[in-house]
Assembly symmetry: C2
Homo-oligomer: 401 residues x 2
C-alpha cells in the first residue's frame, strides 16, 4: 500500500487549491493508496508533524476549498538545508509516507529535488512529484504555470478599468506589478488595450531600467496623448542587474531563500512618480502598487487556469500511480489552444527561472509584441468584458471663444 502526503509552498494563488483538490481526489481513487495526508505550512508542517487527514474529507468541502483562493494547507518560505531534509525524511518514514506532492514554484521544486536525492541516498523509497504553481510564470519547461492566467486576468482587468479612469481624469499613472525576475505578469497589463488605451509603456525586468530614459518616455507619451499610463514590474533592474527596489530599501528584508522582499511596500511606485513630478512638472501623477491584491483576489479567475490547475494535480497523482518516483508536472502547448501534461525531471525545473522570450518584447524594450498577445489571449479564459466609449465627433461650436 502507499500513503500520500501533499503540501503547498511559496506564494498562494487564486487557483492553487484546485491543484491540491485534484491530487487528493485522484489519489483517493487509486487502489494502492490507503491514506492521503496534508502537511500544514509546507515543509515546516512536515518537521512539526502537523498533518491533516484528507482521506475521508467530504467531497463537498474539497470542492468549496478548490474554489477558495490562497493555500488551504498554509504555506512557508522555508528552504530546507541538509539537516532540515533529514528531519523531513524521518517524519515521512515514521508516518509511512511513500508519495510526496509539493505544490509550488522554483524554490519548492528545488526543495523536492534535494529531498528526492537524499531519500535515494538513504535508501528510502519515496516518490517526489512537483506540482507547478506561480503567478510569476517563470518555471522552465512549462508553456505557462497555473496561477499566472488568473493573476494576469486581474492585472489586465485592473489596467483596463484604470485606463478608463485615467482617460476621464488625465494624468500620469504608474502601476507596479509583481514579478521578481520575469515580466510576464506586468506584460499582461496590455491584454485588453485597443486604440490609444494604456498602458502606453511597460517596463520589464528583462530589460535594463534607466531612470532618465523612463522619465523621457513618460514625458514624450504625455506630450503626445495628454496622459500616460505605465506598467512597471517590481523587479526592474539597472544595467548591473541590481533591482531598483533593492537600491531603495534602507534595510534589505530578505527571506530564507535570499530573495529581497519587493512587495508589501509602495516605495518603488513613489520613487517613480516622484521622479516624474520632479523632472517633467506634470502635476497629476499617481502611482499604485498592486501588491497582494493580484495574487489571491476573489472573483477574478480564468476558467482556463481553473481547469489546468485542477489537471496538474490530477496528473501528478496519475504519474505517481504509474510508478514514477520523481519529476515535475509540466504544461506544454500543443495547439492554439490545447495543452498536454508531461512529467519532466525535477532538475530541469528546480531552482531555475524562465524569463520572457525576446520575441515577446518590442524593439523599444517598453512594450510587448503581437506574439506575446497571441501567447496570452487563450490563457485569460472566457467572458472577457468588452469596453466601449464614444466616438470623436463633436457638436459644432457656436461661441467659439
Amino acid at each position: 500500500m502507499s500513503r500520500v502526503l501533499i503540501a503547498q509552498g511559496g506564494g498562494p494563488t487564486a487557483v492553487i487549491n484546485q491543484s491540491l483538490v485534484g491530487a487528493v481526489i485522484q489519489s483517493r481513487g487509486a487502489e494502492a493508496v490507503d491514506a492521503v495526508y496534508g502537511a500544514m505550512h509546507g515543509v515546516r508542517g512536515i518537521v512539526d508533524e502537523d498533518f491533516i487527514d484528507l482521506t475521508r474529507e467530504p467531497r463537498g468541502t474539497l470542492e468549496r476549498v478548490a474554489e477558495t483562493p490562497g493555500s488551504a494547507l498554509g504555506s512557508t518560505r522555508d528552504k530546507p538545508d541538509e539537516a532540515y531534509c533529514k528531519a523531513i525524511l524521518e517524519v515521512l518514514r515514521a508516518h509511512g509516507i511513500t508519495v510526496f506532492f509539493y505544490i509550488g514554484g522554483n524554490d519548492s521544486s528545488d526543495t523536492l529535488r534535494i529531498l528526492s536525492a537524499q531519500a535515494a541516498k538513504a535508501g528510502f523509497d519515496l516518490a517526489c512529484i512537483h506540482i507547478p504553481k506561480t503567478i510569476d510564470n517563470d518555471l522552465m519547461v512549462n508553456d505557462h504555470t497555473p496561477g499566472y492566467p488568473s493573476a494576469a486576468r486581474f492585472v489586465a482587468n485592473a489596467f483596463a478599468g484604470i485606463n478608463r479612469d485615467n482617460a476621464a481624469l488625465p494624468g500620469v499613472y504608474v502601476g507596479v506589478v509583481m514579478g521578481r525576475h520575469a515580466g510576464f505578469l506586468t506584460a499582461a497589463s496590455s491584454a485588453l488595450r485597443t486604440g490609444d488605451d494604456g498602458p502606453h509603456l511597460i517596463y520589464l525586468p528583462e530589460r535594463a531600467f534607466d531612470m532618465d530614459g523612463f522619465v523621457g518616455d513618460v514625458k514624450a507619451t504625455y506630450d503626445r496623448l495628454g496622459r500616460c499610463m505605465v506598467a512597471v514590474s517590481e523587479g526592474i533592474q539597472d544595467d548591473a542587474g541590481e533591482p531598483i527596489a533593492a537600491k531603495l530599501a534602507k534595510e534589505l528584508e530578505k527571506d530564507a531563500h535570499g530573495n529581497v522582499t519587493l512587495s508589501g511596500t509602495g516605495a518603488l511606485a513613489d520613487l517613480l512618480t516622484g521622479a516624474i513630478k520632479e523632472s517633467t512638472g506634470i502635476s497629476r501623477v499617481r502611482g499604485d502598487t498592486f501588491g497582494y491584491l493580484q495574487r489571491s483576489f476573489l472573483g477574478c479567475v480564468s476558467d482556463v487556469d481553473r481547469g489546468e490547475a485542477r489537471a496538474v494535480g490530477v496528473e501528478a497523482a496519475r504519474f505517481a500511480e504509474a510508478g514514477n518516483t520523481e519529476g515535475s508536472v509540466t504544461i506544454h502547448r500543443t495547439a492554439d489552444y490545447q495543452v498536454e501534461y508531461r512529467l519532466s525531471p525535477l532538475e530541469e525545473v528546480a531552482g531555475k527561472t524562465k524569463v520572457m522570450d525576446d520575441a515577446f518584447i518590442s524593439a523599444s524594450g517598453t512594450d510587448v509584441t503581437d506574439a506575446f498577445a497571441d501567447y496570452l489571449r487563450p490563457l485569460l479564459g472566457s467572458q472577457i468584458p468588452v469596453l466601449a466609449g464614444f466616438g470623436p465627433e463633436r457638436v459644432a461650436k457656436i461661441l467659439n471663444k
Copy 2:
C-alpha cells in the same frame, strides 16, 4: 421643445456610465426633448463648448458604454467660481440647453447648486438635476450612493482573498482603502469575514487615530492569532482632525476644491507598516494601498449597484420631464431590501458630507457592528463567493519532537 445636456464630474466609478445611459435613453424618449448632448470632462467641457451629440447614438453603443467602468464623457475636478458659472450659462444659452444633468458627488452637486441659483438670478429657465455617484458613500439624504456597492464588493473580495493569503503565510497586513471623510468603503473590508478571518482591526476617519494605540492593537491581535490584518481608511485623522496622510506629505498636493490628494501614493501604508516593524519587532509586515484599483475595476460589479445606477439616471430624466427645475435624485431604503428614488432639494446634498453613523462603529472604535453588516449585505449584490478551509483536526503525532 427642451434640449438636454449631461456631464460627469469627480472620480469615476464602475457604474457611473449606467447613470449616463439611463438619463440619455429616458430623455430621448420624452416627446418634448429634441436633442441630448454630452459635455466632455464635466463643466470644463461646457465652457470649452466640447459637446457630443447623443441624440441618435446607437442603443447598442450606449449599452456597451453602460457596462464600461470610468466616466465615458470624461471628468473634471474644476469647481466653478462666479465667472466660470457665468461662462457656463452663456454656452448653455447659446446651445439652447434647458435641462442640465450633472452626475457626481458632493462637489458636483454644489457646482449645480451655484449654477441653478445664478441661472435663476439671470432669468434663465434652466433645470439643474444632480445624479448621485460616489464610491465614498458620503452624500447626505441618501441611504447609499451608486458606485459605492461595487467598490465595496471589490474591497470585500480583496480582503477575503488576502485573508486566505495571510492565513497561509502569517504576518501583519495593512490595506489602505479610499475614503476622505467617511469610512464606509474601508468598513466594507469586513463583509465576507467568518470566524477568525481578517480584517481584525478597522480604522475609520470617524474615529481619532492614535499611532501608539494602533501599534498596541496590532501587537495584541498578532499575539493572540499569530497574524493580524488591518483595514485603514486613507482619511484617518488625529484627534485635532488633521489627516495622518497630510502630515506625511512633504508637499501637500491639493486639487481645485481644496482637497488634499490622499491617493496615488503608498506613503500612508508605508508609514503604518514602518511603525509596526519598529515597535513590535514583528518581521513579516506588509502594506498595500488599494488606490485606483478599487474605483473602476473591470469585472467586479454589484448587480444591485448596476441596476440602481441605471435607475437614478432614468429617474433624473423623469423628474425633469415632470417639470422639476432643481434637485438631487436620492436613494431611500424602504424595506430589506427595497429602495425608492426621490428628488431632494440641491441644498440638502450640495457640499455636505455624510459619515458613518455611530451605530455602525463598534465601541472599541476599531471594528464595525452587526448593524453595519445588515446595512451593507444587500448592496453587494448576488453571487457572493463562499470561501472554505479545512477543520482543526490533526493526525496524531508519532515522533512528537
